[in-house]
Amino acid sequence: MNNMIETDRLSQQAATQGAIRIEDVVKIYDPDGAAVMAVDHCSLDIPAGEICMIVGPSGCGKTTLLNAIAGFHSITSGRIFMDGKLLCGPDKPMAEPGSDRIVVFQNGALFPWKTNLENVAFGPLMQGKLGKKEIYEKARSMMADAGLSGTENNFPGEVSSGLRRRVEIVRALMNDPKVLLFDEPYRALDSLTKSVMHEALLEIYYKNKVTIFFITHDLEEAIFLGHRLVIMTSRPCKPKKILTVDIPHPRDYGVLTSPRFRELMEETSAVVHEEAKKSFAAGEREG
């Protein structure tokens, strides 16, 4: 119970950094051949410390947006800012990847040849901000906080996929990111593991104030985790409906059976279903 009050207090400290502003972003693949528009004049404001859930059918271009923020892909036009500073725009179509924006990948990108502890320590070691000893100390304590004690010297391949995801989130947090970018991280997990992962993620979030940009096509996941839902149109992708989830944080799994949760599900599922049908008709593949 004490623990609950503690997290409650922490969750009220608002993050001051990591606001993302997406301004009229367009992404066209292969502009001189058969041009495919992936993102269509998309604008979105994500305040610092928000969990923003991006919901849309498979292949709608959500990941394109995430890659643009992370600095993995360029944009065709428009601008993306973080905390008022330009990440990418007309003169600089591709953002510089940085440790302030860390991606948690769809199938995980832990280095299989490094132990969990070495994986977690990787970012700070590369950045050289701290001494080796301090880094490993911090890594151990963060892993302990996330319930990962005892797996430090295991390789990622030796632990369950749920634990692997948790290691990856801790690895991301070790970089003191302002924004965490999740690309359907729990897609491959079964629904029971998923529910455990969701609570674990929220717990980690309450302790570390970051902005979360979370891509999913699982509506239940989106409403359970998010402050806001941004439902995207099928390709080309842009916000179709933005919905504030007025269920207060901190949340636990009891929320799923609450009447308000049901109402929100009903309110959104028709919209999502409609886009999914369009996307299916257009023959979009996973991606």
Binding site: A70, G71, F72, P97, G98, S99, R101, I102, V103, F105, N107, A109, F111, P112, W113, K114, F122, G123, M126, Q127, N154, F155, P156, G157, E158, N175
Partner: protein
């Protein structure tokens, strides 16, 4: 200590090793029967009837165990294999990595590489005898070729198939180009290097024996390597010695593979613990 002893005993008495022993025993027994078919059954069985019997081979072998020339053959073949193999690793691994990392270099080198690759190492024997000043070098060179192409093609394939997410993750966490090479490309390619080297090692033994036979093994009587040892035994009419040479190569190749397997396992611990 006692624990490891009991484990060893358990392993030796396990079903798998029992089967292995039965397999070998039956093989040797059938061989003995076949070889002595004329003596025992009155009819010489085709093919196998001409092969020296294992008991005779063993007798000749025990005589050879104190023969310096026999061990010299081991030593020479092993030396050539190691020289060729190590050279193939030292040149092949960096070359493969370079081909995988640089598109320009890949475009410039891969076509020529692909034309040279299908040429069997033994087709290189005459030209390498002409090319290299000593017999020894030409054998080592042909041995090198046997492993080289396999090592390179495996390294290129391994390094090129690294998941792009690893690069993106490393880059976002502040890794420099050099860090990415050292901490992502190298370890991610290591399993392919291990595979390439063990396949390469097998080819090396194939090649060295043939090269020794063709080139006369350095010419100096009985000291020309295991391949020459076999050839010399054939010319000298000692059929038992031929078989001794063959089995020696089998043992040597097996030993080399085991050592490589152990080294490969040590260098890729994350693949062992699953």
């Amino acid at each position: 200590m006692t624990k490891s002893l009991t484990r060893l005993r358990k392993k030796l008495l396990s079903r798998a090793s029992l089967r292995a022993m039965i397999s070998l025993a039956v093989f040797v027994l059938l061989w003995e029967l076949g070889s002595r078919s004329k003596q025992w059954l009155g009819v010489s069985l085709p093919w196998i009837g001409q092969v020296p019997a294992p008991s005779g081979v063993l007798r000749v072998w025990t005589g050879l165990l104190t023969d310096a020339g026999y061990w010299q053959s081991w030593y020479l073949s092993l030396l050539r294999v190691l020289a060729g193999f190590i050279a193939a690793m030292v040149i092949g691994i960096p070359l493969g990595l370079l081909m995988a990392v640089s598109k320009t270099f890949y475009g410039l080198s891969f076509p020529s590489f692909e034309i040279l690759r299908p040429i069997p190492p033994l087709a290189w024997v005459p030209i390498s005898i002409i090319f290299w000043p000593t017999q020894e070098l030409s054998i080592a060179f042909v041995t090198f070729l046997g492993a080289f192409f396999t090592v390179v093609i495996n390294v290129v394939g391994g390094a090129k198939s690294i998941d792009g997410r690893f690069f993106q993750a490393a880059q976002a966490m502040g890794a420099s180009q050099w860090d990415i090479f050292r901490r992502v490309v190298l370890p991610a390619t290591l399993p392919s290097i291990v595979v390439g080297s063990s396949v390469g090692m097998g080819i090396t033994w194939n090649v060295v024996v043939a090269a020794e036979m063709i080139s006369g093994g350095g010419g100096s009587g009985s000291g020309g390597g295991l391949g020459f040892f076999i050839w010399n035994s054939y010319v000298g009419g000692s059929y038992e010695q031929i078989v001794v040479g063959m089995i020696s190569i089998g043992i040597a190749g097996f030993g080399c593979s085991e050592v490589l397997r152990a080294l490969g396992g040590l260098s890729t611990p994350w693949l062992q613990k699953r």
